[in-house]
Symmetry: C2
Subunit: 390 residues, 2 copies
């Protein structure tokens, strides 16, 4: 097991009607003037915005609004948010939404006290040294951004999608009401599930030995998703299944499943080029890339994939031919992806073989910068994985 720091200081307020506690939580964590950051008008139409604003008012808190966050959130809105916060004296950013809105809120929160361009945090030219606090009212189980220190933003002019990380942008609180996810369309629910599974699998496939406990935690989250997602696809109002999925989404990415392990993250980076270029849902892109990555790296450690097959998918172990079991695990993942209505190849997301060369280039992979730790991938490897997903 590797040495590690685990720090997940977010206060999670989980369950029905918990959005009524927003005002009290903003106050507890020191906010007095709030930027409410959100995506489309659906949070207004659903009445959620009203309930949150009432709670803020009841706690005597002022707020300003900034909507318009898109999936794969853009730098332009971040600049706008930073400007509003500075002009209006905002000292707390409240995201109402899913990963995109939270990531945009984190970028704003870090950008407000920063003298330079906030993009420096994403290009690697600066490190976040200060941020105003971020709170969350979660409406989507997927990205796990409510419990993580990660933000992913796409720069508009060149479609560059980049991530940054800091303890300072971990949300101080996250309100998680599973009932808010019951109205999600099946496709979005499925994309969220794939994102959650991918967060766990990026940590599960590791070369670090003797990490038995986190292996088992990973398996616990994966088997929960596999069990619960079909339930909500057939019964969207199943509150308890939604609740298990929503909590799994947080655990998949606050790093409790990754403590003490080398982590991979190649599939995420390979996918980021897809969703930046074609603006597909991140979860759909992961559905296309992850099985392809698995096939490409399978022989690096077939027993790891055999364990995945047995413990996660309930396959019988073929002790004479573990590689057969290993392959069966990948097939089972593909069958699951198809069963929840997600694509498995480029055609399914409108991606084109002709763009592979461009995506390999924009991924930044070269002889000195490779992707992944489970298997280290150069440009030719990344291109081969894209081709396996054709």
């Amino acid at each position: 097991m590797n040495n590690f720091t685990f720090f997940s200081p977010t206060c999670f307020e989980f369950g029905r009607d918990t959005e009524s506690r927003t005002g009290a939580l903003v106050k507890r964590f020191g906010g007095s003037k709030v930027l409410i950051h959100y995506g489309s008008g659906s949070v207004i139409r659903s009445g959620l915005m009203n309930r949150v604003q009432s709670s803020l008012q009841a706690s005597g808190l002022d707020c300003v609004l900034l909507g318009g966050v898109q999936p794969n959130p853009r730098s332009g809105l971040v600049y706008e948010g930073i400007e509003i916060c500075r002009r209006e004296g905002v000292d707390f950013v409240l995201a109402i939404g899913g990963g995109s809105t939270i990531d945009s809120a984190k970028a704003i929160a870090a950008g407000v006290p920063h003298m330079g361009d906030f993009w420096e945090f994403f290009s690697g030219k600066a490190v976040i040294g200060k941020a105003i606090p971020v709170g969350v009212v979660l409406t989507l189980a997927a990205a796990g951004s409510e419990g993580s220190g990660v933000s992913v933003i796409t720069r508009e002019q060149d479609s560059l999608k980049r991530a940054t990380y800091s303890d300072l942008i971990k949300p101080v609180f996250a309100i998680m009401n599973p009932a808010l996810t019951c109205t999600l369309p099946p496709y979005q629910t499925a994309c969220g599930a794939m994102d959650i599974m991918a967060h766990v699998m990026e940590r599960y496939f590791t070369n670090t030995p003797d990490v038995e406990l986190t292996d088992r935690l990973c398996e616990a989250v994966l088997t929960t998703i596999i069990e619960q997602v079909p339930r909500v696809l057939s019964h969207p109002d199943d509150y308890n299944a939604r609740a298990n999925i929503m909590w799994a989404g947080m655990l998949a990415h606050n790093d409790i499943c990754g403590a003490g392990r080398d982590q991979d993250w190649a599939s995420h980076k390979i996918e980021h080029e897809l969703s930046a270029l074609y603006d597909v849902a991140h979860g759909a892109g992961l559905a296309v890339i992850f099985p392809a990555w698995m096939k490409y790296v399978l022989e690096h450690n077939p027993m790891r994939f055999a364990r995945f097959a047995v413990k996660v998918w309930g396959c019988d172990m073929d002790y004479m031919n573990p590689l057969r079991t290993a392959r069966e695990g990948i097939s089972r993942l593909e069958a699951f992806i198809t069963s929840i209505g997600l694509p498995l190849n480029f055609a399914g997301i409108g991606a084109r073989e002709a763009d592979i060369e461009y995506m390999v280039r924009t991924s930044g992979v070269n002889e000195n910068f490779k992707l992944g730790s489970y298997v280290s991938l150069g440009a030719a490897d990344v291109a081969a994985i894209y081709r396996l997903a054709l």
Copy 2:
């Protein structure tokens, strides 16, 4: 699933040599003058105290020392610690040790700014409203106090053992170096393992439906302990096994395994009377009480115990007779307890049948105050469980 708040703000610094970071962490969390609280001289003889003090000095921090914490920590030393902190202007309590030392440190930290008697927090007459920060250098995998808001103290004059809880006494950091646990005697290692398992089982046996994810997390922690403890008993220096156990001890009690579930805690309260009266190790008392409790409540929900048998102990499910499988799970737990050198009955801990009546009385159970939530236990039930442990 129930509504819940999950808040585990401790910064965990895990791995080899992490005690060298003590000074930096105390400073990060605002300490300037530190009370170092510890138990016996072993932390001095092992050189750990020296390394911690060097780290504090390197960060320019002053400290005063207070040793002498005993297992089942006493109120007397807490009063002494509070007085020292006030007199010396201490603003940070650093516990070096296991659960007893951490619990004592928490009580001191809450007592310092409190006008009245600190015991009011334990008798239920006052609620902790303020505390100076607590940090931990953990030397024992057992109580999980490094990640919890619980403190358990025994009042000397009448052997009353009582607990209190507050977010405000959750450690701000916990340094967890598994190598420090490699020199533990087998009996203490085993007692710690039993304590860890008990923390999970108090949460596992619940009437709350649809808590699949936390069920699986509980099973992940339990199976890890069952797998790793025999490894360290035969090879005490097995760092990785020690590491898995140490991290399991934290996860067993920071409530990640209990989120959204009714929890029981009857066995803990029944055991507290044993360890208060006979001063036996908490883990040994739990080894005696937990199987007795299980036998007493088994028929409340045999399928719950059948799941425990299958998922935790790897028993085959007897679909014709689930009760048989359920009983087999309890037998497997008993065999495990014996195999790691712990007692299963009163004789093994020097407890006497004649004291049962006294213990039932001091537990405070009566018609208006019952123990447990999985099955609600009155005085006659508690007496029957003690008798099952004879």
